[in-house]
């Protein structure tokens, strides 16, 4: 990334979406487009409300701490972060305040790159807090949806240890996968469940340059682009001998223009006046509970990746793609359980299926071609009922028409002709019609062979088994 050393630290906020209720109130924790429908008096800060800690959210936060090799807290407690903003109706947020004790402190995690190399990311801390309400800023007015207020939020803070946009994204993608695998969060950026703050500095040597913070980057591609943009901006200033213009400040990543815009300088930093939340008594985190949590950690993405490589002989690259999203991995495993060949399914998923999913911006779990339907297509192909070309066509038709594969195969007369007699009779027909071409072939124009195959395919509307066609055609030509 250019001639300067780039240092990146990330703050990844992920909403916990898998608890029944919110972190400090009993309102439902469920994403919905109907504004202000999942709210309790607490979420709107009515006088006299009190926070009640959701134990399940605490359990999840401790589990993440364990996965990230953090020190667990001896006691769990919360702090108030005081600031006035309309998205925070109490005008304070209940959070944790590292380096004071929080869900997890001082850990690390190793990340695998696509090329198989690995790098280690230092985890400064992971802490549990409540989310704010969602604000939408319109031209001359802003609207507030309190559904999101008091939804549990895990904030993960890395050390300044990343050095490229690619590594930053690889790390974020892996953490997102962990959240999904552990049943903590859907971690869906489209629902605003994952938001990142990115800290960047550049330097010519080992010292750290001036840190610039970019707030509320709402997608991983945004993180990538924001890093690239900000490194370029800072590098250009440094090249021009104007590095002193890089100020310790907070900037906002603007998705639309692809630029970062100054929000506030370090000197304008807000004094949050933290103090321990008095309404939540400190509670002891016992070793027994931690042990139970450790034992309940499910298979993690890299463990699954290794399993795919060993058990199914998949390449690191393919296995890496499959495990990135638990829904993709589940789709893959469902297909295998239905009897599909792992390698063929893996190829289909990484090729046709993800191609379609990404292009159309849909979720694999919502794809009309479910593992069951895909299994029908692939088994028809395996049995030789349809050709691989037909299988691809069928896949597209199923998606397009949203009909069952069997129905389409029937309607379209889509079946492979593998019967020797039928194929032979078509070949004889073709050869009889192309006597001159046979002579050419016999005289050494071997590429006429493909011409004959093409004619057979044309007459059978592509349904003839190409292997059989070649086999019989070779015999028939020899007999002429």
């Amino acid at each position: 990334m250019g001639k300067y050393n780039v240092t990146i630290g990330l703050e990844m906020h992920c909403e916990v979406s898998k608890t029944a209720s919110k972190v400090f109130s009993n309102a439902k924790n469920e994403y919905t487009d109907i504004a202000n429908s999942n709210i309790s008096p607490y979420d709107m800060g009515f006088p006299g409300v009190l926070p009640v800690v959701n134990k399940e959210a605490v359990r999840m936060s401790l589990m993440m701490g364990e996965i990230l090799n953090c020190h667990p807290p001896k006691y769990m407690y919360f702090e108030r972060k005081n600031y006035y903003y309309p998205d925070m109706p109490k005008n304070y947020q209940i959070t944790q305040n590292p380096p004071e004790e929080c869900a997890g402190m001082g850990g690390y995690i190793d990340i695998e790159r696509e090329d198989g190399s690995t790098f280690r990311v230092d985890i400064d801390n992971i802490h549990l807090e409540e989310d704010s309400a969602r604000m939408t800023h319109l031209y001359d007015t802003s609207i507030i949806d309190y559904n999101r207020a008091a939804v549990p939020l895990l904030e993960l803070v890395t050390g300044p240890c990343l050095h490229s946009a690619e590594d930053a994204v690889a790390f974020l993608e892996y953490i997102r996968a962990i959240y999904q695998y552990c049943g903590i969060s859907e971690a869906d950026s489209k629902k605003g469940q994952v938001r990142c703050d990115v800290n960047i500095s550049i330097s010519e040597d080992d010292t750290l340059g001036t840190k610039v913070e970019m707030k509320n980057v709402n997608s991983f591609s945004g993180v990538h682009d924001a890093i690239v943009y900000e490194v370029k901006r800072q590098s250009e200033l440094k090249d021009a001998g104007r590095y002193d213009e890089v100020e310790q400040e907070t900037r906002r990543w603007d998705e639309e223009t692809g630029t970062t815009i100054r929000m506030r300088s370090k000197v304008d930093a807000i004094d949050y006046k933290y103090f321990v939340e008095p309404n939540i008594p400190k509670f002891k985190i016992t070793e027994e509970w931690l042990e139970k949590i450790r034992k309940s950690i499910p298979e993690l993405p890299y463990e699954r990746k290794a399993k795919y490589m060993t058990n199914y002989s998949l390449s690191a690259y393919d296995a890496g793609i499959l495990i990135k999203d638990i829904n993709i991995a589940s789709y893959f495993e469902n297909c295998i359980n239905l009897g599909c060949d792992p390698k063929i399914v893996a190829n289909w998923i990484t090729g046709n299926i993800l191609g379609y999913v990404y292009k159309n911006d849909i979720e694999i779990q919502n794809l009309f071609v479910t593992p069951e339907r895909l299994t029908i297509i692939l088994s028809s192909m395996a049995k030789g009922d349809i050709s691989s070309k037909q299988a691809k066509e069928l896949f597209s038709m199923v998606l397009e028409r949203e009909e069952e594969p069997k129905e389409i195969m029937k309607k379209e007369g889509m079946q492979q002709i593998s019967d020797d007699t039928t194929i032979t009779s078509v070949i004889i027909e073709v050869l009889d019609e192309n006597k001159e071409q046979i002579t050419d072939y016999k005289n050494g124009k071997t590429n006429m062979f493909d011409y004959f195959v093409g004619q057979v395919m044309k007459k059978t509307r592509g349904q003839a088994n190409p292997v059989k066609v070649k086999e019989i055609l070779t015999n028939e030509l020899a007999n002429r």
Partner: protein, 488 residues
């Protein structure tokens, strides 16, 4: 007065034997409410249409009572005596209120208070000053000023109060009644407008110790809406009330109670401390041991500032939900910040604004260590010093305030450096979350004064038993203020 001057058990008996109906009690209580409103300005809201909702076996069923205006009451104006909540009608009940409702108790009014409980005089509420029913030229003390005035004047046998520094126990003394704040967390704070959460307690003002036991029995209990509440289902304050206290050991703090500490003592203070020591003799006559104990004077002197720092800091944060955006009168302005500023500038009294500035100051990063964190450390030291005594003693006794109710016209300076700690010492009960009760123990210049009994956490029964025994040995039990004097 026919019935409202009686105790809860007496009224309950008369309801049961058909001598009186709940409707008659309500109308008597409302009639008295209007008289006391006229004389003392004790109420924010009067429920003229109050009626019996449900009949239960509870001792409280069918009996009127008052609710301090910082308890959230569903469907009824609840202002905390602040203009920031001028028209606020909550849609949920505080746990204490809903418990009383389910037992058939009947609220007849919401009592006035110092704005949000920040104030100890009963003079800072949005509806004006509460006057003491014993002498209308004097204050009730606060912040449960309306509740104290109403109970003292015999409007009903009890009213809910809240206590962050001494907000139940001092007005009780000034109004000649009983004020009880149980152990922290015994009564759920859900629905109580917060002042300083780590110091806030729910409690009750009554004219009899037994009545205090009955009401707290009814409203205590673990509440899943308040994480600081605890299970007290094994405690039955009324059933176990026992006047046999012989062998109990009491202590009082020399640095507070010895007249020799006050070189410029007023006649009132002298009389008050003498009266306190007279009451200690009664304690001894009841078979109790009373010892004088010395506590590090540095800790005693620190009490008022520790309280000021911690309570203001927490209040600054607790009251920051008052923006006029979601509830409360909308401020004027071109954007939310201006609207919020306008709302708060117009809504808060000068006293609150001063305290919020202090709170904000002591919480600032550069000041926090010096003020807020040190105040928390000092709080811990004070509590530890008292807890050390509770290992040897059953309870601490102390005189409440420096004498009887102060004049409203301010002709007597309240802030005397010498007596500041004595004035504020009941805050120890809030620092430690200790059960603490004030009962009347005499008169000075025809005005009531009180004595306080404070015990170790969870030992509410012991504290009430001592108060009950003492109350029975003095002549001030169940007394009603004459509602005389004053220019109004």
């Amino acid at each position: 007065m026919k019935y409202m001057n009686l105790s809860i058990t007496e009224i309950h008996e008369k309801l049961k034997n058909g001598e009186v109906t709940s409707e008659e009690l309500i109308s008597e209580s409302l009639e008295l409410t209007h008289i006391v409103q006229e004389k003392c300005n004790a109420f924010v809201t009067i429920f003229d249409d109050a009626k019996k909702e449900n009949d239960t076996d509870s001792l409280l069923s069918g009996i009127p009572y008052g609710i301090k205006d910082n308890y959230s009451t569903k469907g009824a104006l609840t202002t905390g005596s602040s203009n920031t909540l001028r028209d606020y009608i909550p849609f949920f009940d505080a746990t204490a209120v809903s418990k009383l409702s389910s037992l058939g108790a009947i609220p007849v009014n919401k009592t006035a208070m110092d704005e949000f409980g920040l104030g100890g005089t009963g003079t800072t509420g949005a509806t004006g000053v509460q006057r003491n029913p014993w002498d209308l030229t004097r204050m009730c003390a606060g912040s449960s000023s309306g509740s104290a005035a109403a109970v003292a004047a015999g409007v009903y046998p009890y009213a809910l109060g809240s206590d962050t520094g001494d907000s139940i126990r001092k007005p009780a003394a000034f109004c000649g009644i009983v004020g009880y704040k149980p152990t922290y967390g015994m009564i759920s704070r859900y629905g109580l407008f917060p002042f300083a959460s780590s110091l806030d307690h729910c409690g009750v003002l009554t004219r009899y110790v037994r009545d205090a036991a009955i009401v707290v029995d009814a409203i205590k209990g673990i509440d899943e809406a308040d994480m600081t509440s605890w299970d007290s289902s094994h405690i039955h304050l009324n059933d176990d009330l026992n006047a046999d206290v012989s062998g109990k050991k009491l202590f009082y703090i020399k640095e507070l109670c010895d007249l020799a500490n006050y070189q410029n003592a007023t006649e009132e203070l002298k009389a008050h401390l003498n009266n306190f020591h007279e009451t200690l003799k009664i304690c001894k006559n009841l078979g109790m041991q009373v010892d004088e104990v010395s506590i590090d004077p540095k800790l005693i002197r620190a009490i008022p500032s520790v309280y000021q720092v911690i309570s203001c800091a927490e209040a600054t944060s607790n009251l920051s939900n008052l923006t006029g955006l979601i509830f409360g009168p909308r401020g004027e302005g071109d954007n939310y910040l201006e609207m919020m500023k306008d709302h708060r500038t117009k809504g808060f009294s000068p006293l609150i604004k001063r305290r919020l500035v202090i709170g904000s100051y002591v919480l600032q990063t550069q000041n926090q260590e010096r003020y807020f964190k040190n105040a928390q450390r000092a709080r811990r030291l004070i509590v530890d010093a008292i807890k050390e005594q509770f290992k040897k003693y059953d309870a601490m006794v102390s005189p409440v305030s420096t004498g009887p109710a102060k004049l409203l016209d301010g002709s007597v300076d309240m802030l005397n450096e010498d007596t500041l700690a004595l004035e504020d010492q009941l805050q120890i009960g809030n620092f430690g979350g200790f059960p603490s009760i004030t009962i009347p123990n005499g008169f000075i210049n025809d005005l009531p004064v009180g004595i306080n009994i404070t015990g170790e956490c969870f030992e509410d029964q012991k504290v009430l038993n001592i108060a009950y025994a003492l109350e029975s040995s003095m002549d001030y039990k169940g007394q009603i203020a004459p509602l005389i004097g004053g220019d109004k």
